[in-house]
């Protein structure tokens, strides 16, 4: 089993706020790691640290056997990392196809324009935006913009995909679609870390789950272990009974 990504004691502080404390884990190739935790637990900050947007003060991040702790986001992309943003970041005045082409052109495969256009059309078909390719990205609705984020990341044909709440704001049929899409991506051999609030989705899709609370890693393990972990339930909901109840409702 090859380790694709390895975090060793990663810590990040914003002024007086300790956003991440000694986060340590190894992610084997081909797995889906679910990243959960209450609001403000540091999930997106962890993505930003892995991704090079906010380099950590302490610790090391090893990706594909290279130390990328202090590397820039563009260098991460060139090495085969791609991400979606929780708050969508479309390139509004470009059409949907061009948005996706940027991912293909400047990602680690460094495609030329003609190839990038082909990849963009394939990926847009795959995420279900084939009918919108000629529209300006700014004219899409939120669910479509989320798909666009995903398409852009996929067009880079990444080794590691960071998904930041791709399900948030979607309705239940859109959620089912998106989960199927994520599973299909995994089948293509892409390793995934996904931040998600929707328990049912995380538990069904993930091979392993990592739980953050106030920047600390409070649990890590298989989904079935995590749901029974008292510490997790307490951190998340305060009341273990309520947790079970909510899981059933989902």
């Amino acid at each position: 089993m090859t380790i694709l990504l390895s975090l060793q004691g990663v810590s990040k502080r914003f002024g007086g706020l300790q956003a991440l404390t000694q986060v340590t884990f190894d992610l084997p190739q081909g797995q889906i790691l679910g990243l959960i935790g209450p609001n403000g637990a540091g999930k997106t900050t962890l993505f930003n640290a892995i991704n090079g947007v906010y380099p950590p003060e302490e610790g090391r991040i090893i990706f594909r056997e290279k130390d990328i702790t202090r590397a820039k986001p563009s260098e991460h992309a060139k090495l085969g990392m791609a991400r979606t943003h929780q708050i969508v970041q479309p390139l509004n005045e470009l059409i949907v196809r061009e948005n996706v082409m940027v991912g293909a052109c400047f990602g680690h495969e460094n495609q030329g324009l003609a190839n990038a256009e082909k990849i963009a059309d394939e990926v847009l078909e795959f995420v279900g935006l084939a009918s919108k390719t000629e529209q300006l990205a700014g004219t899409l609705n939120v669910a479509q913009k989320k798909r666009l984020e995903l398409a852009r990341a996929l067009a880079a044909r990444p080794r590691l995909l960071l998904l930041d709440e791709v399900l948030a704001g979607l309705n239940s049929s859109e959620i089912d679609n998106m989960i199927q899409t994520v599973l299909k991506i995994r089948e293509q051999g892409v390793t995934i870390i996904m931040i998600e609030h929707l328990m049912k989705a995380v538990m069904n899709v993930s091979d392993r789950v990592l739980v953050l609370d106030y920047g600390e890693q409070i649990a890590e393990g298989a989904p079935e272990e995590i749901v029974k972990n008292e510490k997790v339930i307490e951190a998340y909901l305060g009341d273990p009974k309520l947790a079970e109840q909510l899981l059933e409702e989902d």
């Binding site: 943003h85 970041q89 479309p90 390139l91 470009l94 940027v102 400047f106 990602g107 880079a156």
Partner: protein
């Protein structure tokens, strides 16, 4: 077929420059040649600025610094070192490109208004600097000796040659603008304009791309500067670094449509046309710059995409025809 398809967006720019070049020949009127030269100069400068402003989204209020600096270097080589016109023009372009590289490495890390302010500072600093350089003649500048025109068969002939070089430079600026727009590099610039952080996450090496865009946008202005001051017969700090000319360029690009290949052409025509009317009109002749300022305000408020951008928004099918 594929080849033509790829370059058919160049048809209109090439036709415009060809028509402009032919116009004085057809009418046989030398004063037409001078007004056409002014328009071609405006097209070349506005198209160059568009690479930075329109594609990359960085507003430069001091772009004329490249025109002045390139012009000074070229004229110095022409008079002081005895170079002939074409090598001097090329050297002016190279000098401005190098200046852009150095400046870009320093100020392109600034974003938005901070970058815009820095570009004004650079222009004013350069003017003050040149003012104090003896090599470039200090405050009085460099005057061309009339004998330099002899090499080209007299002053009249030299003006004619300058006109053709001007046409070539306008064409060069347009071709460059088009090729950048259609390239992968250009896509990277557009993504920086739309969202620099997201672009970097997708792998666009923004500092390098921005510096390249800045250099490309500086080369033709440097060459045009040499050509203009050669025609003019002298170069002074006051004429080489006029801040208002930078703003006029912004108005042209914004008016025609930033981020489009055709926009700066349209903007240059419209603005020069308007300016021609204003400076000769008894009411507006003293306040023509205020009219430009008001125009810029109106564009920014009501048609931020400019004329070409406005048409493209209304009629999306024209998107492919109007690059």
């Amino acid at each position: 077929m594929k080849f033509w398809h790829r370059y058919n967006g160049l048809i209109i720019p090439v036709l415009v420059v060809a028509a402009l070049t032919a116009w004085p020949l057809i009418t046989g009127n030398p004063s037409n040649r001078e007004s056409v030269f002014t328009i071609m100069k405006a097209i070349a400068l506005a198209s160059s600025l568009n690479i930075l402003l329109g594609y990359t989204g960085y507003v430069s209020f001091g772009h004329i610094v490249f025109y002045g600096f390139g012009g000074y270097v070229g004229i110095y080589l022409l008079t002081g070192k005895g170079w002939s016109l074409i090598p001097s023009v090329l050297a002016g372009g190279v000098a401005s490109g190098i200046l852009a590289f150095l400046l870009g490495s320093a100020i392109l890390r600034l974003r938005g208004a901070y970058f815009a302010l820095a570009t004004i500072g650079v222009n004013e600093a350069m003017r003050a600097f040149i003012n104090n350089i003896e090599l470039f003649g200090g405050p009085t500048g460099i005057t061309l000796n009339f004998s330099v025109y002899k090499e080209y068969g007299g002053a009249a002939q030299a003006l004619q040659i300058s006109f053709y070089i001007g046409a070539a430079l306008a064409l060069l600026a347009l071709v460059m603008s088009y090729l950048v727009r259609m390239s992968k590099f250009g896509l990277g610039l557009l993504s920086i304009r739309e969202n620099e952080d997201a672009a970097e996450v997708m792998g666009v090496v923004a500092p390098r791309a921005k510096t390249m865009a800045y250099i490309l946008s500086a080369i033709v202005p440097g060459m045009i500067g040499v050509l203009f001051f050669f025609k003019n017969g002298n170069v002074e700090p006051h004429d080489a670094f006029p801040l208002h000319a930078s703003i006029e360029l912004l108005v042209m690009v914004m008016l025609g449509g930033q981020g489009t290949v055709l926009g700066p052409i349209l903007g240059a025509f419209a603005y020069q046309g308007m300016r021609g009317y204003l400076v000769t009109s008894p009411i507006f002749k003293d306040i023509q710059l205020s009219v430009s300022g008001a125009l810029l305000l109106i564009i920014v408020l009501f048609i931020p995409a400019g004329a070409i951008g406005w048409i493209r928004q209304r009629v999306p099918t024209l998107r492919k025809v109007l690059p």
